[in-house]
C-alpha cells in the first residue's frame, strides 16, 4: 500500500538518526561562511552571522474544529513554519506544525525555549517581524532607501 510506504519513509527521514545527521545547528566552532567573508559589503559587518531565519506559511488542511486556529492573516489555512538556513543553503533548523494564526515572534520564542540554541555572540539575520535580541540581527523599522542612488555607486 503506497500510503504505508509513504509513512514509513517519512518516519525514517524525520527520525533523529537520519534527520540529525543532515540538519544541525551551527556551534561555537562553525566557521564564518565565505558568502559573508568574501563579500566586502557583508564583511566584517556581519561577521557574527551564522545564517538567516524566517517563517513561511505552508498550506494545510486541518480538521474542522482546528480550522480557526490555522487560518492565517490572509484567511488561508496554513501551518506557520520557522526555518533557519546557513549561508551555503542548508537548513539548520526547522520547526513545523504551528498553526497559521501563530505570530512569527511567538513561534521563534517557542523554538528558543525548546531546541533552537544559538552560540553566544552569534546571530541569525531575520526580518523586522522578529524581536530585536542578542541572537537575531534585524533591520531598522520603516527605513527606505532610494535604490537607484545606491546602485549608481555600485557599492551597496
Amino acid at each position: 500500500m503506497p500510503n504505508r510506504s509513504f509513512n514509513h519513509i517519512l518516519n525514517a527521514v524525520t527520525s533523529p538518526s537520519f534527520y540529525n545527521v543532515y540538519v544541525n545547528l551551527p556551534n561555537e566552532e562553525s566557521q564564518l561562511d565565505s558568502y559573508i567573508s568574501d563579500n566586502p559589503k557583508f564583511f566584517p559587518y556581519f561577521e557574527g552571522a551564522v545564517g538567516a531565519l524566517d517563517g513561511t506559511h505552508i498550506n494545510a488542511r486541518p480538521s474542522i474544529q482546528d480550522r480557526p486556529r490555522y487560518r492565517n492573516r490572509k484567511g488561508l489555512l496554513t501551518q506557520n513554519v520557522l526555518a533557519a538556513t546557513t549561508f551555503d543553503m542548508h537548513f539548520c533548523y526547522i520547526l513545523s506544525g504551528w498553526e497559521g494564526s501563530a505570530s512569527d515572534g511567538g513561534v521563534y520564542h517557542d523554538a528558543r525555549v525548546h531546541d533552537l540554541s544559538i552560540p553566544e555572540g552569534k546571530y541569525y539575520l531575520a526580518d523586522a517581524g522578529y524581536p530585536i535580541c542578542d541572537a537575531l540581527l534585524v533591520p531598522f523599522w520603516g527605513v527606505r532607501y532610494h535604490l537607484r542612488e545606491w546602485e549608481k555607486s555600485g557599492l551597496w
Partner: protein, 118 residues
C-alpha cells in the same frame, strides 16, 4: 544601507524556501494526512533538501525561474509575542545593530573618498 545589505544577505532564507516549494509539490498542495503528518512532511522535505545538497550539489533548482510558485510569505510584520526579551538585552542588541550600521556607513564613505567621488 544597513537595511539593504541586511536584506541581501538574508536573501538565502527566501531562496531556500523558494527551492523547496518549487521542488516538492507536496509542500504546495494540501493533503488529508493527519496534522502531525502534515507537519512532519515539511521537516522531511527540509532534510531531503540537505541530503541532496550534500550528495548532489549540482542538482540545483532556480527558485525564481517560475514566478507562479512565488511564495506567499509576504513581509511578516507581526509584533513578536516573545516574553523573555527585556530592557538590557533589547538595549544591547539595538546598540550592536547601530554599531554595525555605523561601521558600514563609514566604510562606504571611505570607499567613496578613495574613489574620488567626494
Amino acid at each position: 544601507m544597513y537595511n539593504l545589505r541586511h536584506s541581501q544577505a538574508r536573501n538565502v532564507i527566501e531562496r531556500i524556501f523558494g527551492v523547496v516549494k518549487k521542488r516538492y509539490s507536496i509542500i504546495r498542495e494540501t493533503n488529508d494526512f493527519p496534522q502531525e503528518t502534515q507537519a512532519k512532511i515539511v521537516s522531511g522535505c527540509g532534510v531531503i533538501h540537505n541530503f541532496i545538497c550534500t550528495f548532489d550539489p549540482n542538482d540545483e533548482v532556480d527558485p525564481w525561474e517560475d514566478e507562479a510558485n512565488a511564495l506567499q510569505d509576504g513581509c511578516d510584520q507581526l509584533s513578536g509575542g516573545t516574553g523573555d526579551i527585556h530592557g538590557a538585552e533589547t538595549r544591547r542588541a539595538t546598540e550592536k545593530r547601530e554599531t554595525i550600521a555605523q561601521a558600514m556607513w563609514l566604510g562606504y564613505q571611505a570607499e567613496l573618498q578613495r574613489r574620488g567621488v567626494m
